[in-house]
């Protein structure tokens, strides 16, 4: 049994440790992005959402602001998901 287990883990490299490592790499990458975000980001996101909703009835999750940074510059990306057309026509026809 020891022999078999050993071949399994050594030869195929799929012990739970490799799963742990993959999960960690993703987790830590996410954490680090969140950590690097300027502190005004959540508030900015909320205020943009409020503003959009004055004109368009979007979902509360429709606005995302993402932030990225490299050595030279910072990027602020604003994404607004408008309700899809079919829904629009429906709500208008009502």
């Amino acid at each position: 049994m020891g022999l078999l287990d050993n071949f399994r883990s050594a030869n195929h490299g799929r012990g739970s440790a490799s799963v742990a490592k993959e999960r960690l790499q993703i987790l830590v990458a996410h954490d680090r992005i969140a950590r690097g975000r300027p502190s005004y980001l959540p508030k900015l996101e909320r205020e943009i959402l409020d503003l959009i909703r004055k004109y368009v009835d979007v979902d509360p999750n429709a606005v995302t602001v993402s932030y990225e940074q490299d050595e030279r510059q910072e990027f602020l990306e604003l994404n607004i998901l408008l309700p899809d057309q079919s829904e629009w026509y429906q709500s208008e026809s009502r």
Partner: protein, 283 residues
């Protein structure tokens, strides 16, 4: 949130000695074990060293060091002016270069104030080369106080997902919430200490390896402490495990102290003890 203390002139005075925080985020990873052994190790090398227990309410550094019956006054008493520092400091009986400042068992964590901690550290820095702060778990007030004045941080990590993740979070906090960060000074020097390591489980692919953890956290590795019965034996008898010179964990802590002091040493106790035969058939 935490006010700078530039006006008290602490920055200059503290620079005479080195403040080291032993931290982790996650609990039970070996911070107190490490604080006691690193403190004893530095003291044995001839450096005046004090270890402070910041784990208010859960004090156990004094137990690990075997001086619990000599505690009269504690850190909070000193901060509140109820006792002088030299009344609260306990001099180790095995090595007179080592002192302990115990935590209070009864008080509230909030009794640790930035100013109060700063004043105690300043006074300690007059006659100690190393001030080791044994941090509580978490990222709450007590942990922030333990790291606020740090020059160096030893991030104790176990080879498992939640511990590595919390260590990484702690790195973010060290980089933003310390006095060095607030004053835009050179950042805290961060070290990784991997503890409770089981080489045979790594070989079986059941545990993250030294290389895995180092790749994820990319910190200077100060040591790898094996999972060892000797740690429990030592803490049962109130002896820091570094004094058990026959044990693997004790020797690993001795190496760690030497590396901290600048020696380059290969890592020991990182490969499977059993030979190939044992590995193949041991299961």
């Amino acid at each position: 949130m935490i006010g700078g203390l530039g006006h008290l002139g602490l920055q200059e005075d503290l620079s005479l000695s080195r403040v080291i925080v032993i931290t982790s985020g996650k609990g039970g990873v070996g911070k107190t074990t490490t604080s006691a052994s690193m403190g004893m190790g530095l003291a044995q090398k001839g450096h005046r060293t004090v270890v402070i227990d910041f784990d208010v309410g859960l004090r156990n550094l004094d137990l690990v060091l075997g001086c619990e019956r000599r505690v009269v006054y504690d850190f909070i008493n000193v901060i509140n002016g109820e006792a002088h520092l030299n009344q609260a400091l306990i001099r180790d009986k095995r090595c007179n270069k080592l002192s302990v400042l115990p935590a209070s068992q009864t008080r509230d964590k909030d009794a640790l104030s930035v100013e109060g901690v700063g004043q105690v550290l300043e006074e300690l820095s007059k006659d100690h080369e190393y001030i080791i702060c044994d941090s509580p778990a978490g990222i709450e007030h007590g942990a922030l106080m333990a790291m606020y004045y740090a020059d160096d941080a030893v991030v104790v990590t176990n080879p498992e997902v939640s511990s590595v993740r919390d260590s990484d979070r702690m790195l973010g906090i060290l980089a933003s919430k310390s006095q060095r960060a607030e004053q835009n000074r050179e950042p805290i020097t961060e070290y990784l200490l991997l503890s409770r390591y089981s080489p045979n489980r790594v070989v079986r692919g059941e545990m993250l390896s030294v290389a895995d953890v180092q790749e994820i956290l990319s910190l200077k590795m100060l040591g790898v402490i094996p999972e060892s019965q000797s740690v429990l034996n030592a803490s049962n008898s109130g002896i820091p495990v570094i004094l058990d010179t026959q044990s693997d964990a004790g020797q690993a802590y001795q190496d760690m102290v030497k590396r901290y002091l600048g020696e380059e040493l290969p890592m020991r106790f990182t490969s499977d003890k059993r030979g190939m035969f044992g590995r193949l058939f041991g299961g």
